[in-house]
């Protein structure tokens, strides 16, 4: 008989099966992911996703007897009152059938539920995105300096005095200099006083007194000359400033919510924000998100309002930029925060405002930001007309000029979901190329 310990065998034996399963159920999973995207917030993307998919595609058919019809016999345990020949009404078959209709949110009883992990979820969300590339792209990081201990020094402020070290040196010095103990010296002084107070000393005692006096003077002088703690003993904790990347970042999502932005466009924008969030999350310990929506005026809102409520009114892009500037000044000092901003718009703007925007971006926003990304989301139907640069919006043309001069400014147009990842990749690969 052998006992084999298999616990350390490599894990994930069924990984290949899972991959095949996700492949088979791909189209259903995709639909479920689309559905869930409407519901979930940007910041919980990293948690993977529970999806419920209809069992139809992943059903494994077999020749089997139907559960109804035909003559059947049953043998059951636990008879209490029946005798042979008793009849009893058929139990209602319909009892279980209510659940078969499937609830509207797609989580009916017939659905197969399971949890997609983060990679699978993103893979499906962004259609074959290659995550490893994400890790390679480099971000600029601001450095802050933090004091870290770096040994001891002989100089320093009293507050950084290291008592232990100092006393250790003091003790060593006292021993090597043979500093008399204060108690010894005092005892000697006491003896001298006693002898002097005594009347009629013998010659021997007198000699002893003399001896003591010489010794006492010598020791007393030595005690005085050798301080208990000398400046040479002093040791101070030494600190050195070490550069440290700021571990917190804030991400500004700016979006035009005027009537011209369709749900489809907002969905595209949401995906972009989602990806940006995910990316920054992997870089920073702490990440804040600020949502600013604007029509002709801007306001900071929560995520739900940001994506789901509609506003009417004109479009003044600069209002959002001003709002962002204000929030940064109030809450996010640039020394402590890495600031990222992503702006999504369909390119419409009040015509006289465009110039203001350009100026604002160049003068105030870009100096604040690590990175500013502008994506212009466009309806897929407009793609053939708008694909060419010459038909671009005024805002686009204005930003184009800025992009040429500033490395931390990027802009891109997005027509379809599958564009999102390439665009994202390009935006963030830019910095790498320059580096």
């Amino acid at each position: 008989m052998h006992i084999v310990d298999r616990r350390l065998n490599p894990k994930g034996k069924s990984h290949a099966n899972r991959q095949r399963f996700v492949r088979v159920a791909r189209s259903e999973i995709k639909e479920a992911v689309e559905r869930s995207l409407q519901k979930r917030g940007i910041s919980d993307v990293a948690s993977g996703e529970k999806v419920a998919i209809p069992t139809k595609r992943i059903h494994e058919p077999q020749f089997r007897h139907s559960s109804t019809g035909g003559k059947r016999d049953y043998v059951l345990p636990g008879n209490r009152e029946f005798v042979q020949g008793d009849t009893l009404p058929r139990p209602q078959q319909g009892g279980g059938e209510g659940g078969h209709e499937g609830s509207p949110d797609g989580e009916g009883e017939d659905d197969f539920q399971f949890v997609l992990n983060r990679d699978e979820f993103l893979d499906i969300l962004f259609e074959d995105l290659e995550l490893p590339d994400l890790e390679k792209t480099r971000l600029k990081e601001t450095m802050t300096f933090k004091q870290t201990r770096a040994g001891f020094s002989t100089t320093g402020t009293p507050s950084s005095l290291n008592i232990t070290r100092t006393m250790r040196h003091s003790l060593a010095r006292r021993i090597s200099m043979r500093r008399p103990k204060r108690a010894d010296v005092e005892r000697m002084a006491k003896e001298i006083a006693e002898l002097e107070a005594q009347a009629g000393l013998t010659s021997e005692e007198r000699r002893r007194l003399e001896e003591l006096k010489t010794k006492y003077t010598f020791l007393a002088r030595k005690l005085k000359a050798t301080p208990y703690v000398d400046p040479v003993d002093l040791r101070f904790n030494r600190f050195e400033p070490t550069p440290q990347p700021t571990s917190q970042a804030v991400m500004f999502c700016l979006m035009d919510v005027s009537g011209s932005m369709s749900e489809y466009m907002k969905d595209l924008a949401k995906r972009f924000f989602l990806l940006l969030h995910l990316f920054l999350r992997s870089k920073y310990e702490h990440l804040d998100i600020v949502f600013i929506r604007h029509t002709s005026e801007a306001q900071e809102v929560d995520e739900d309002t940001f994506f789901h409520s509609r506003e009417s009114g004109g479009t003044v892009v600069s209002s959002a930029l001003r709002e962002m500037q204000k929030i940064v000044a109030e809450r996010y000092p640039i020394d402590d925060w890495n600031i990222y901003a992503a702006q999504a718009s369909d390119g419409d703007n009040f015509s006289s405002d465009t110039e203001t925007c350009g100026e604002l971006i160049q003068k105030s926003i870009l100096p604040l930001c690590q990175y500013f990304a502008y994506i212009e989301v466009l309806d897929e139907r407009e793609a053939p007309i708008l694909r060419s640069e010459s038909n671009a919006s005024e805002l686009w043309r204005c930003y184009k000029g800025i992009a040429a001069d500033h490395e931390n400014f990027a802009m891109k147009r997005v027509f379809a979901r599958s564009d999102i990842f390439p665009v994202f990749h390009e935006l963030f690969a830019k910095g790498r190329r320059a580096a």
């Binding site: 290949a16 399963f21 992943i58 058919p61 020749f63 089997r64 059947r72 016999d73 636990g78 399971f114």
Partner: protein
């Protein structure tokens, strides 16, 4: 200590052994040394006293995650990859994480050496129980039951699985995931119809064939009579259609009807590539390997439960386990053999552990101290005084349905208060056909035996005709028993799979077994290439 009614009688002949001074272990923790020590003590009882005959054992300790892995690939240690296993894993994992499902404490594999997987979370008592249950109970059953001896190859199964895994992986590499998946999907759908129920008639080889032809010719020569030639031919009598005889011949060449659909498709499908045939063969062989387990589920579990019960009690008698451990064991054991009554909310059919264990205990009782009733019911074993020998023979020679028919005693029917209900769709109400009384024993026993008869549980579907000369249509026939139809959607889907494999149209006729009437007819065509 007793539980669940009266305790089974102690085997009178178990030798007197001195009580041990110290138990094998104390407390819940286990380590490898304790496991080994306990295994040896259990082995001494199982082999020495119960006279079990087992394959060598190999015990493997695994984590819960590995147990989930094993669940998904029909509990085999290595298996080819297929999405359905991924689906099962996802489902089980979710149930497990949510706490809806506990994991088995062990999985045992019918192989030499007999591999038992045990969970690391088990307490030492649980490990002892599991060793007795799987490494001796199931192991003995695998080695001795006639179905396993006839249909499974314990020596070769692990090598075969490893071959299958590599072969499927190679096919995936060469022909693409999608192509392999199509074949596997279709083959899995036919797994239940992919087993041989009887030994296949051996085909005569060429030399025998020639000999027979020679003999036939000689017979014709010897009995030749010119007179037959002179008989006038009736011009009105239609000549026998030659095409009909040809078809007849074709059918006999294909050995129709054939109930092993996978075998038939593998051998005769006009369209399959060699690698596709090999994959069908793999699936067929695995289905065949599991076929005995399906037919002996109740006996197998009953045997293992009975063995672990005997062994644990004996360990206590010998002072090898503490009373605390015994209490823990009994708690677990009673949960395993719990049989809710039919109107209980927890009722989910007859628990094979419960019925199996009860039947084993009942046989033991009838052997040791039978009543008059038992003597009338099983005269040949009642009071023979050799319960273990009788049980070993029963375990070797029966499957669930025959075992019930042979050994389900009136006493046990009364104890479980079994009754039979008849559901005839033509009558407005259900009828209690038999209960646990003198008039009912036979009928209850027979109905329960039929419930375990796999030939009746699974639909009877056979290949009955192929038009090899014409449009190559494959005709299947479902013999409808008692008017119980097939699940239509599923049947149509499976038919689609068969059409994929066959490459031409497939037809399924449902024919009433008694009245010989056509009830329904489904058809499927292969997907357009």
């Amino acid at each position: 200590m007793s539980f669940l009614g009266e305790p089974p009688v102690r085997d009178q002949r178990s030798p007197r052994r001195k009580k041990a001074t110290k138990p094998l272990y104390e407390g819940p923790d286990w380590d490898f040394a304790t496991m080994k020590r306990t295994y040896e003590a259990i082995e001494e009882i199982a082999v020495g006293e119960l006279k079990l005959d087992c394959y060598p054992n190999q015990i493997e300790i695994i984590t819960s995650e590995q147990m989930l892995d094993a669940y998904s690939s029909i509990s085999m240690p290595l298996f080819y990859s297929h999405w359905s296993f991924g689906k099962r894993f996802a489902r089980d994992e979710k149930l497990y994480r949510k706490g809806y499902m506990g994991l088995a404490y062990e999985i045992v594999i019918n192989s030499t050496p007999c591999i038992s997987y045990m969970m690391e979370e088990n307490t030492m008592t649980m490990q002892a129980l599991v060793m007795a249950h799987a490494a001796f109970g199931h192991n003995h059953f695998f080695k001795n039951n006639y179905l396993f001896r006839q249909w499974t190859d314990a020596e070769g199964i692990l090598d075969y699985l490893s071959f299958a895994k590599n072969y499927v992986a190679r096919c995936e590499e060469r022909h693409g995931l999608g192509a392999v998946e199509r074949v596997l999907d279709a083959a899995h759908a036919l797994m239940d119809q992919g087993v041989d129920r009887y030994n296949r008639r051996s085909r005569p080889n060429l030399a025998q064939e020639r000999e027979r032809a020679e003999a036939r010719r000689e017979h014709a020569l010897a009995t030749y009579n010119d007179l037959w030639r002179t008989l006038p031919v009736d011009p009105n009598k239609p000549k026998r259609q030659s095409s009909e005889t040809e078809m007849e011949e074709g059918r006999s060449r294909l050995a129709l009807p054939e109930e092993n659909l996978l075998y038939f498709i593998e051998k005769f499908s006009p369209r399959l590539e060699p690698w596709q045939r090999e994959i069908l063969r793999i699936v067929r062989n695995i289905a065949q390997y599991f076929y005995p387990q399906k037919q002996t589920k109740m006996m197998n579990e009953g045997c293992a439960t009975f063995v672990h019960y005997k062994i644990m009690n004996r360990l206590l008698d010998l002072g090898l386990i503490t009373e605390g451990a015994m209490l823990e064991f009994i708690d677990y054991h009673t949960r395993v053999v719990f049989q809710p009554e039919f109107d209980d909310r927890r009722y989910g059919g007859i628990n094979p552990y419960a019925l199996g264990f009860e039947m084993m205990c009942d046989i033991e009782r009838m052997c040791a101290n039978p009543t008059e009733e038992d003597r009338a019911f099983v005269p040949d074993i009642a009071g023979n005084g050799d319960p273990m020998g009788t049980l070993r023979t029963a375990w070797a020679d029966h499957r669930d349905d025959s075992f019930v028919l042979q050994f389900l005693s009136p006493a046990l029917i009364r104890k479980l208060r079994l009754f039979k209900i008849e559901d005839d769709p033509e009558k407005p109400e259900l009828r209690v056909d038999a209960i646990h009384d003198e008039r009912g024993y036979k009928r209850v026993r027979k109905a329960l035996s039929r419930y375990y008869d796999i030939g009746l549980r699974e639909p009877d579907i056979q290949v009955t005709d192929v038009d090899l000369k014409g449009d190559r249509r494959l005709v299947l026939t479902h013999k409808v028993r008692d008017g119980v139809p097939l699940e239509e959607q599923d049947a149509r889907a499976v038919l689609g799979h068969i059409a994929t494999l066959w490459g031409y149209d497939v037809k399924l006729h449902g024919i009433d077994a008694d009245a010989d009437l056509l009830i329904y007819s489904y058809e499927a065509s292969p997907p357009a290439a």
